[in-house]
């Protein structure tokens, strides 16, 4: 199935990442959003509030992020494609419902336009300090899919992908933007609706009597039913069996959590996506995502001008982490330099995947501004010696 031409603003635009993300959601078929104002993400819901009644969607500004992040899950069970948008403290408040969405396998998209923290931190300035929170922020064991755009164009593209992943895997999907990408204005080309592939709801075709709402297909993912269609199913955040009924015991926990984790881990290769630049002969591999990848790219080019064999791996899907690719590169590279706008989060993943086969160097930044390419170049030079 493809996007609805009535809702897609096909053509070239000059727009910022936040607005592009909103258009991406609409193109993906999002017809419900709930949000609470918070800098630097608010433009996404402001635009959605303006666009919603024109495209057959509903927007509601809720009383807080707790409400926003579960209103979208209620809407999703009503058959809507739903998302919410937040930043900083708001993302912390949404954690419980990311876990609820994972546990109840509710297709949903959470956008986090990252700003500096902790706490109120830097409301108007960028950071990438939520990478681990995005992965581990809700309590208990679960898996997440997270995408990190590095341009307004990608804000559009990855919102479509986020909704598709959410439907395909029946999982919450996080779009991890950052303030710089959200507020950066560039050319965004919105394709024709017919070029935008959408993954439809995995609606069951079974009769109500034969339908078990949490019975998985061989791929580990159950079929979906929406409220009001006669299936009269039960959904709970408690550990539950295939009927959706609470079953508070260790074997059921093993079966359910094992499946929830497995349905993403077993498809990690299919979900993985990264951009690679000059990796064919790279001895020094920069690893960076989001806005930081653009600075790292410049540093890589400067290193190449000095004939240092540097390359760049830019994870686009940041969770599940592209550990297989890191492992391959570790076998032949001299060093990874992980450039991120935090005090060391993804670097742990790189170190873990590299497993000591090559050196891993962290190039941290507390946030508020991006790295300087010259500073990265200095580290590249050091690593190359």
């Amino acid at each position: 199935m493809t996007a609805d031409p009535k809702t897609v603003l096909t053509g070239p635009h000059f727009m910022d990442g936040n607005h592009a993300a909103c258009e991406g959601a609409i193109a993906a078929g999002a017809n419900f959003a709930a949000g609470y104002p918070i800098t630097p993400s608010t433009e996404i819901v402001e635009r959605f509030a303006m666009r919603a009644p024109l495209v057959g969607a509903t927007f509601l500004q809720m009383e807080d992020e707790l409400a926003s992040s579960i209103a979208i899950l209620g809407a999703a069970w009503g058959g809507a494609k739903a998302f919410t948008v937040t930043s900083g403290p708001g993302f912390s408040l949404m954690m419980e419902h990311i876990g609820y969405a994972a546990m109840t396998e509710t297709p949903s998209v959470f956008v986090n336009v990252q700003r500096g923290g902790p706490s109120t931190g830097l409301p108007t300035l960028p950071a990438q300090g939520d990478m681990m929170q995005a992965r581990w922020g809700s309590h208990g064991d679960y898996e997440i899919i997270a995408l990190s755009p590095s341009s307004p164009q990608e804000c559009f593209d990855l919102m479509v992908d986020a909704f598709n992943f959410a439907e395909q895997y029946r999982n919450p999907v996080i779009v991890l933007m950052d303030e710089s990408v959200g507020h950066m204005t560039e050319k965004v080309v919105i394709p024709a609706a017919s070029q935008i592939e959408l993954f439809p709801h995995r609606y069951t075709r079974r009769a109500a009597a034969d339908y078990l709402p949490f019975q998985p297909w061989p791929d580990g993912i159950p079929e979906f039913a929406r409220a009001g269609d006669g299936y009269r199913f039960h959904v709970t955040g408690l550990t539950h069996n295939e009927h959706g009924y609470p079953a508070i015991n260790a074997p059921q926990q093993q079966e359910l959590v094992g499946r929830l984790v497995g349905k993403i881990r077993n498809h990690a290769e299919a979900i993985a996506r990264a951009e690679e630049c000059r990796l064919e002969d790279a001895q020094i591999v920069l690893v960076a995502y989001g806005i930081t990848s653009r600075v790292a790219l410049r540093a890589m080019q400067m290193a190449r001008e000095e004939r240092i064999p540097a390359g760049l791996l830019r994870p686009i899907v940041v969770w599940p982490f592209p550990e297989k690719r890191i492992r391959e590169l570790a076998a032949r590279a001299r060093a990874f330099i992980v450039v991120e706008m935090n005090y060391g989060q993804m670097v742990r993943e790189v170190e873990r995947a590299a497993a000591g086969r090559c050196k891993t160097i962290l190039m941290p930044h507390a946030g508020g501004a991006v790295h300087r390419p010259e500073a990265i170049l200095d580290i590249i030079r050091e690593a190359a010696q």
Partner: protein
């Protein structure tokens, strides 16, 4: 009822395979579910088009026992979940069924805002004055002087008057009954199911295990006798006057039944006025 077989009127609403339920002997929650079954039957609503949303707690378990599209959500968030569901499925009747701690303490902010917006939800609050599921802690409804595990010397915070809170926040239908008043509860629920907008029904119910026992008030049956003897029906009473004290007289009745446009109506009217033909409506 002259059919050759007879069925408990609550049975079509139950997930019978999940019986017996977890509620203690003498708990009033199950009694309210009987009333809900009768109200649904009277409302003639097709059960496929009724959803029930609960939060966390003893009353939160109602969702797991009713054979409807039923959602056991997170603590305090039944109302915003139900709001999203109602907006996405306007043709459904969405009932929120939860306890006083869930709806009024952790979920208090959502409660007042949903009433303000007049979301078309039927909110049933079983108020037992205590946190049952977690073992008897003080609630924002615990009467002054009553003890709880976290108020061992007696509650010293003024409790909420729930009908007053609901009315002043914007609810269009407000009633309070006790678990003793089964016919009135069923009637109130049936009225709410037929009414558009944010309807609120408070039902006082015994928690013999944690509230009554700790406060030496006897068992569930003694509590029901207390309700019978000390409740006064005052339909139309001002909600200002409905504070509950420790073992005080209980004013019950229907206090508010007004008309006000719902969230969906005000939303659509605003869009239609501003956008006219450009308003695309709701594309489900």
């Amino acid at each position: 009822m002259s059919a050759p077989t007879a069925m408990n009127p609550v049975e079509p609403l139950l997930r019978s395979e999940r019986m017996p339920h977890i509620w203690c002997p003498g708990c009033g929650i199950g009694t309210t579910v009987n009333c809900f079954a009768r109200a649904l039957e009277r409302s003639k609503l097709p059960l496929d088009r009724v959803a029930l949303v609960s939060g966390i707690g003893c009353t939160g378990r109602v969702a797991g026992y009713v054979h409807l599209d039923s959602f056991h959500t997170t603590h305090g968030r039944a109302i915003p979940f139900a709001t999203g569901l109602k907006l996405a499925r306007p043709e459904m009747t969405v009932v929120v069924y939860s306890g006083d701690g869930d709806l009024i303490a952790i979920g208090g902010n959502h409660f007042i805002h949903a009433a303000r917006r007049n979301v078309d939800l039927k909110v049933i609050c079983v108020n037992n004055f205590i946190y049952g599921m977690t073992g008897g802690q003080v609630a924002p409804t615990t009467p002054l002087g009553a003890t709880a595990t976290t108020a061992p010397y007696g509650a010293f915070e003024r409790p909420f008057n729930l009908p007053f809170l609901a009315e002043s926040s914007g609810a269009v239908y407000v009633a309070r009954w006790t678990a003793y008043h089964v016919q009135h509860i069923a009637h109130a629920m049936a009225e709410a199911l037929q009414k558009k907008g944010f309807c609120f029904i408070e039902i006082l119910a015994p928690c013999p295990t944690l509230y009554q026992r700790r406060n030496r008030l006897g068992d569930g049956l003694e509590t029901m006798r207390y309700y019978k003897q000390h409740s006064v029906i005052r339909n139309g009473a001002s909600t200002r006057d409905l504070d509950l004290g420790f073992q005080s007289e209980i004013t019950v009745g229907k206090f508010v039944d007004i008309e006000r446009p719902t969230l969906q109506q005000t939303m659509e009217a605003a869009y239609r006025q501003a956008l006219q033909q450009r308003y695309a409506g709701w594309r489900a």
